[in-house]
């Protein structure tokens, strides 16, 4: 077999280095992709943790506004639960309301949930309204008060007509 010349040896070396570089590049690219994926996954977990790990003061503020909350359920179930709880709260405040009306919710879903609204109309004392409003946050299905109209009779200033629309989330 003929002996390789210096030129041949150099060419072989360059070829070997090139082949090694290609292997490193291919393996490295895959590895970097996998790493990027792992980092994204870690970022997601960190974001989740951040969401859960709220500052104590912030959490206390949130709890004063939303002391209880239940995860939304299917529309039929959630509406009934919400209506029953609201009715119970009205009774607790000794407000005799008209039958609660279910209104269609907004078109745009919020945080992945649809909105269902309940309207309540009643004539009652102003103090009863205050009692009712003070206890509303205890409703675990309540999302928010959409509308409140209070009308006073000038002749009977303590008596008010109340129109209230409240909302809940449904799946």
């Amino acid at each position: 077999m003929e002996k390789l010349s210096k030129k041949d040896i150099r060419a072989l070396k360059i070829g070997a280095i090139g082949a090694a570089a290609i292997i490193v590049f291919v393996a490295g690219s895959k590895w970097i992709d996998h790493w990027s994926q792992a980092r994204r996954s870690l970022e997601r977990v960190k974001a989740k943790l951040e969401l859960i790990n709220v500052d104590k003061a912030k959490q206390a503020g949130l709890m004063s506004i939303v002391p209880v909350i239940e995860m939304p359920q299917k529309e039929e179930t959630q509406t009934v639960l919400f209506r029953n709880k609201l009715n119970e709260q009205l009774k607790k405040a000794r407000i005799n309301s008209e039958p609660l009306q279910v209104l269609p919710g907004g078109k745009t879903p919020r945080a992945g949930y649809k909105l269902v609204r309940l309207k309540c109309s009643a004539k009652c004392q102003l103090t009863q309204v205050f009692d009712f409003l003070a206890g509303m946050n205890e409703n675990p299905y309540l999302v928010g008060i959409e509308e409140l109209r209070l009308r006073c009779d000038p002749q009977k200033p303590q008596e008010v007509e109340m129109d209230l629309t409240v909302s809940t989330f449904v799946k």
């Binding site: 590895w31 996998h34 790493w35 792992a38 980092r39 996954s41 870690l42 997601r44 977990v45 989740k48 943790l49 969401l51 859960i52 709220v54 503020g61 949130l62 506004i65 939303v66 909350i69 995860m71 939304p72 907004g106 745009t108 919020r110 945080a111 909105l115 205050f130 409003l133 003070a134 946050n137 309540l142 999302v143 928010g144 008060i145 959409e146 509308e147 409140l148 109209r149 209070l150 009308r151 006073c152 000038p154 200033p157 909302s167 989330f169």
Partner: protein, 499 residues
């Protein structure tokens, strides 16, 4: 065993050059086992020559040659005159080498005649007595040493040694020196080295400015032998005895009286006489004669030659046997060409680079492993803490809470703000709040002033903005002013808020 046998058989050569007063002296010595062989010896007056030209006369190459690099058995050493070197003997507590180093430096600072930055110093640990270690320190002015290095560096010597160490070595090897501690007196033409040797190593030296020439004028008066009774003292001999005694005192040797003093001698009358003078002064002194039988020479080599070349021979023997034993005054100023400085391994750029690359690779791998493992570990850890906890469920619950909190206006607070803002004369008829619309209030006031005050008061409440009086009319019956007022409440009434 085999190593020792190998060393015994190994032939080692050294060339030593010393400058003694006005003369350069060079020898090449070979040692094989116990046999010392003088290959050549040469001297030259310094008025006719200098270090380089004398070396050239001796046939030495100037600068580093390929031969020097490969001829590992042959080394060249240069003798440095100890006249410019100060010696100190200090006692320090026995400690580790590095602690001792700093203690020596601190102690030397108090002893040196110049600031320590201007001096080069070296030290050698002696024996330990009563927990104190004796340290011999040699120091010299740095500039003086640098000048010397400039003169000799072209010869590329393996080491520069103190000439008085050469004298002590010669005494040990060729003048029958076998005492543990002794004083060696080495006379030259115009000066005398008085060297204290402890355990066979130089530990102190003092140079006297009297030499053989000072005694030549009185040669006739000198006794023929040291045994011929007490010689007649002269001013020079008295001074010499006084200087030697002062030197012994300066050595601060505990048993100075018993210390044997050896005067290196060529067997001539002058030195015999000097020995007799010193003996008459009560010193334990004797002449040390060269043992020519210990030396083989390829040329005509007699006692006189051995005596004349004692210092370079001593230096050459040091170079052959243990050059590292010498005081290393020049270590920081001179390094032979081709000899790399011993450095910590991390100083090597290649090794440091390799370590950095490995560390970088480890860092990348660890970062990757952490990034890959972390999400699973966090979720697993949450599950371990509370098995009922599902991170996704927790997240959804928290998210829902936050969204709901943003959806809930505090209408009780709003009604409180409104009722606090107006006085009792204001009769409110209605309040209307609807998300995405301005809050609207209707009512009656007795005078516009009350209305304006009511508006201003509302404007000062937190969360209430853009308070506007939209509509006013006078009631014909009551003469009251009917009004409609609107305002924004927090973000709930802004346009874009879901309705």
């Amino acid at each position: 065993m085999s190593g020792n046998a190998h060393n015994a058989d190994k032939r080692l050569c050294a060339i030593a050059i010393a400058h003694e007063e006005n003369e350069f002296k060079a020898v090449e010595v070979r040692k094989q086992g116990e046999t010392i062989e003088m290959l050549w010896a040469k001297s030259g007056q310094d008025s006719d020559t200098n270090w380089l030209s004398f070396a050239a006369e001796c046939g030495l190459s100037i600068g580093l040659t390929e031969k020097d690099k490969t001829d590992g058995d042959k080394t060249t050493v240069i003798g440095f005159s100890s006249a410019g070197v100060a010696f100190y003997n200090i006692g320090l507590p026995a400690a580790k080498e590095d602690e001792l180093k700093s203690m020596v430096r601190m102690q030397a600072e108090t002893l040196l005649p110049l600031p320590v930055e201007q001096m080069e110093l070296t030290w050698r640990k002696g024996r330990v007595r009563n927990g104190q270690v004796a340290v011999a320190v040699a120091a010299a002015r740095r500039e003086y040493l640098k000048d010397f290095v400039e003169n000799v560096c072209a010869l590329n010597p393996a080491k520069i040694l103190l000439d008085c160490e050469g004298a002590v070595k010669a005494w040990k090897e060729l003048f029958g020196g076998n005492e543990k501690d002794a004083v060696i007196v080495n006379l030259t033409a115009r000066s005398t080295q008085v060297c204290l040797a402890e355990d066979g190593y130089l530990s102190n030296a003092i140079i006297l400015d009297m030499g053989i020439e000072d005694f030549l004028e009185m040669a006739d008066n000198l006794p023929d032998s040291e045994n011929e009774g007490v010689p007649e003292q002269t001013e020079a001999t008295e001074r010499f005895i006084f200087d030697v005694k002062s030197a012994l005192e300066a050595f601060d040797y505990t048993e100075a009286a018993k210390l044997p003093i050896f005067v290196l001698s060529n067997g001539g009358n002058t030195i015999k006489g000097i020995v007799a003078y010193l003996k008459s002064a009560g010193l334990n002194v004797r002449a040390a004669l060269p043992q020519i039988q210990k030396m083989r020479a390829q040329m005509d080599f007699e006692i006189e030659q051995l005596y004349e070349y004692r210092v370079p021979i001593g230096l050459a023997l040091m170079a052959i046997e243990a050059p590292a034993d010498g005081f290393s005054l020049f270590d920081r100023l001179y390094r032979p060409a081709g000899v790399k400085q011993k450095r910590a391994i991390l100083y090597s750029p290649k090794i440091a680079g390799a370590i950095a690359a490995v560390m970088l690779a480890v860092f990348v791998i660890i970062s990757y492993a952490i990034d890959v493992a972390s999400p699973g570990v966090i979720e697993e850890s949450l599950k371990t803490t509370d098995s009922s906890t599902d991170i996704n469920q927790l997240m959804q619950q928290q998210n829902l809470t936050r969204i709901v909190a943003m959806e809930r206006p505090n209408l009780l607070e709003l009604i409180k703000h409104i009722s606090e803002s107006g006085d009792s004369s204001i009769k409110l008829e209605s309040i209307h709040f609807k998300k995405g619309q301005l809050v609207s209030i209707t009512g009656q006031v007795q005078s516009p002033d009350q209305l304006y005050k009511f508006q201003e008061s509302l404007m000062s409440k937190s969360g209430i903005k853009d308070v506007k009086i939209q509509n006013t009319s006078r009631d014909n019956k009551t003469k009251n002013v009917k009004f409609t007022m609107t305002f924004h409440y927090k973000n709930f009434t802004k346009k874009g808020t879901r309705t």
